[in-house]
């Protein structure tokens, strides 16, 4: 018979009502006429409809040398039921109600747990539902609506006000304000114009624009997010190894405890066989390890889905567990603490000459500072010269032949074998104190000028650092920049410690050093050269605007390029992990207290559990664990409203 658990529950419940009436009438010494027969018939139906599936599943498991919660339910109900039949025909007292009520309560637990489990996994389904169903694509010069699956990379797509952006792409025409909250968690709409990236499933609010599709199908950001969340939800937290170990031996152990309970009462304490049996059955029923098994997966599921909604993607349960030990957060400077779009603020020396040489060389480089220099040259209408033998000097700068001399542009690490005038040196120090990065421009063996470049901190950086400090975390900034510049920025946003002048390849080593000094480190970064540091750190937090390799190496990915995300990531991870611990503690306590009570250990205090009460307690424990996990949806996280 294919009935859902909830239907089975209602049928069984209605059938159990006569026994309920008899139970409550018991204290008044009233006996229902023909009670034994009524109980026998209704219980038999309940067993056939509701308990039989547990019996058959338990039997199949038994043949596999497996025992599980079904084994306990099956043993408990069948012992009570078959004993009662025997008792009925030999004129003894019957216990049909025990078998019936245990079944009813177990079913109630199962049905409620199923419902809540569905609620918990719903969040993910909602994410997938965000996707637009169709798109207006240009075909033969006209815009036509096509289903989402037919959109290809390179298609030109039009989006009208109020519509969803169907896939990821770059705006080619028009501008608009977009609501990206579903992907980034940021509630403020963002203005986008030609050349800006748009993300699939975000909502276009006021303007019409056309964009070129760059990512479709499973490559889109939303699909990637859904994929990450799915993996996280099914992942293991190391703390679960404990429950795995327990669950392997738990059920057989409970069966043995039940037998011992029976023997102790019957053989050594002189109880009647019937009472000893009732104690044993109670032990079997209350011990169902459901709550233990549900504790971690349900909390993981709710926690990771909630964080995804806030733009924080947690890769797995292991990361969650690591976060709770973090005491130091290390930030990369450029692009993480700062905006990552440096601008030239001062040029020292012959303006034209310095910029011409610098820009001509830097035009071949992809370094963010190089982009700033070239941009400045363009603004000043400086025409660039061709250079020969261009070469990058790892971590220091670039050099090339300019005319018949060797020219170079780079940091002060280049200065080792080059002479520099005292005046230049003073100028450089002054600029650095203003939090500006100084680039030296040289020709031949001489420094001919300086270019000061500034990269301002993101507006949210200061607040985020303050929040982290409030949580007792030490904040560290790691940068390849000069000490003076780094100090100036760190003072501005309130960072505890600065490690400056670090070569890109040394970042991971610096993290290692901190770890060796006994610290548990989270590293926040975004660049290709951050990948080793992200993997070395106990927890790697990658900025979503970063490169794919950085995202691959991080344990947590922030969709939004904002340091408040770090605070949120740490908050939600800690809360989820604490919830897992609470759940496990609760589930374990439940069994460690429940089993002795059921075994009749506290009978002297008048505290006993009949099998049907044990069944109710068991159902309640699973439901309470799932409820506790669902409550994670309501906890307060920095920067969000419930």
């Amino acid at each position: 018979m294919n009935l859902s658990n909830i239907k089975r529950f209602w049928i069984s419940f209605v059938l159990a009502i006569p026994m309920l009436i008899q139970m409550s009438a018991m204290p008044f010494h009233w006996m229902m006429p023909g009670y034994n027969w009524i109980a026998f018939i209704t219980t038999t139906i309940i067993m056939a409809i509701s308990a039989a599936p547990y019996w058959s599943s338990a039997w199949a498991a038994f043949k596999h040398h497996n025992a599980n919660m079904n084994t306990l339910v099956a043993v408990g109900t069948s012992v009570a039921y078959f004993y009662s039949i025997f008792a009925m025909f030999t004129g003894r007292e019957v216990y049909f109600e025990s078998a019936a009520f245990v079944t009813v309560f177990v079913l109630l637990g199962d049905a409620m747990e199923e419902k809540m489990h569905n609620n918990a996994s719903n969040a993910l389904a909602k994410l997938i539902d965000l996707q637009a169903k169709d798109a207006e694509v240009e075909r033969n010069g006209k815009f036509v609506k096509v289903p989402l699956e037919q959109v290809k990379v390179g298609d030109i797509i039009r989006v009208k006000p109020g519509e969803k952006v169907p896939v990821d792409g770059v705006i080619v025409h028009g501008s608009s304000t977009l609501d990206e909250s579903m992907v980034t968690g940021e509630s403020m709409p963002v203005t986008k114009k030609k050349g800006d990236d748009v993300v699939g499933s975000t909502i276009n609010t006021n303007g019409t624009f056309t964009f070129k599709a760059t990512k479709v199908g499973s490559d889109t950001m939303l699909s990637q997010i859904v994929d990450l969340v799915k993996k996280a939800q099914t992942s293991h937290a190391p703390i679960q190894n404990l429950t795995d170990k327990i669950s392997n031996i738990f059920v057989p152990a409970v069966l043995i405890i039940a037998i011992i309970t029976f023997v102790l009462w019957y053989v050594f304490l002189g109880a009647t066989a019937v009472n000893a049996m009732l104690f044993a059955v109670s032990v079997v029923v209350i011990a169902c390890p459901c709550a233990l098994g549900l504790a971690t997966p349900t909390a993981l599921m709710v926690g990771t889905a909630r964080s995804a909604k806030m733009g924080v993607l947690i890769k797995n349960g292991e990361v969650l567990e690591e976060v709770s030990d973090i005491d130091t957060v290390v930030f990369d400077k450029t692009g993480t603490i700062t905006v990552g779009k440096p601008q030239v603020t001062d040029v020292v020396g012959d303006q034209n000459k310095v910029l011409t040489i610098a820009a001509s060389l830097e035009n071949n480089s992809e370094h963010p500072l190089a982009t700033a220099v070239v941009k400045k040259a363009n603004e000043n209408n400086i025409s660039l010269a061709n250079v020969k033998n261009f070469a990058a000097i790892e971590g220091k700068g670039v050099k090339a032949n300019y005319g018949d001399q060797e020219a170079f542009v780079g940091s002060e690490r280049l200065l080792e074998d080059i002479s520099i005038s005292r005046e230049m040196k003073d100028q450089a120090a002054k600029l650095q104190k203003e939090a500006k990065t100084v680039v030296y421009v040289g020709l031949g063996k001489e420094i001919i000028g300086l270019i000061a470049i500034q990269d301002v901190p993101k507006p949210s950086s200061k607040a985020a650092i303050a929040e982290l400090k409030k949580r007792g975390l030490k904040t560290v900034m790691l940068t390849g920049d000069n000490e003076n510049v780094a100090q100036a920025i760190s003072e501005e946003i309130g960072i505890d410690q600065v490690i400056a002048g670090v070569l890109p390849t040394e970042k991971a080593a610096e993290i290692k050093k901190l770890q060796n000094s006994g610290r548990t480190v989270a590293f926040v970064g975004d660049g290709i050269n951050d990948a080793p540091a992200l993997s070395t750190a106990n927890v790697g937090i990658a900025m979503g605007s970063g490169t794919d390799i950085a995202i691959e190496s991080g344990g947590i990915v922030l969709v939004q390029n904002d340091l408040m995300g770090v605070v949120r990531a740490l908050d939600i991870s800690k809360k989820t992990f604490n919830r897992i611990k609470l759940n496990l503690f609760w589930a374990l306590i439940y069994n460690t207290i429940g089993i002795p009570i059921a075994a009749g250990l506290f009978m002297g205090l008048g505290l006993t559990l009949s099998p049907e009460l044990a069944g109710l307690a068991m159902a309640f424990s699973s439901v309470s664990v799932v409820t506790s996990s669902l409550l994670l949806n309501k906890t307060k996280i920095a920067g969000t409203t419930a």
Binding site: A111, T243, D244, S247, I259
Partner: protein, 125 residues
């Protein structure tokens, strides 16, 4: 101590011994292989009180499907979770649930029920 008590004690000890041997002793587990035909392979797992067989061996490089045939109506085995693949499927929605297994590289994919009480694995070699 009466005769019935002594019998009970003996039976109880025997029963405990049996439980220990049956659940913790070493027992051979069945291993299933997939049927390969026309460039694809398929394996079936019956879900009833566990997974039979609980170990499936697949060939590397041939697209593979594993079918879970749900024959258990209790909540215990209602979901199957492949942790490494990020798959969490409800088996009760349809009779047979098919899951695609990537076979591009060798390895083992573990699967378990939603509460991590029952385990099985798919080996690609």
């Amino acid at each position: 101590m009466g005769i019935s008590q002594i019998i009970t004690l003996v039976v109880a000890i025997l029963l405990i011994g049996f439980i220990l041997w049956w659940f913790f002793g070493k027992h051979q587990e069945a291993v299933g292989t997939a049927a390969v035909e026309q460039g694809s392979q398929e394996a079936n797992i019956v879900v009833k009180g566990g997974y039979s067989p609980s170990t499936i061996v697949l060939k590397q490089g041939v697209p593979a499907k594993v079918n879970f045939d749900m024959k258990d109506s209790t909540a215990c085995l209602s979901h199957v979770v492949f942790e490494q693949l990020g798959v969490n499927k409800d088996l009760t929605k349809q009779k047979v649930t098919t899951i695609d297994i990537p076979t591009d590289k060798k390895g083992t994919y573990n699967f378990a029920c939603g509460m991590d009480m029952f385990h099985g694995k798919v080996i690609v070699k």
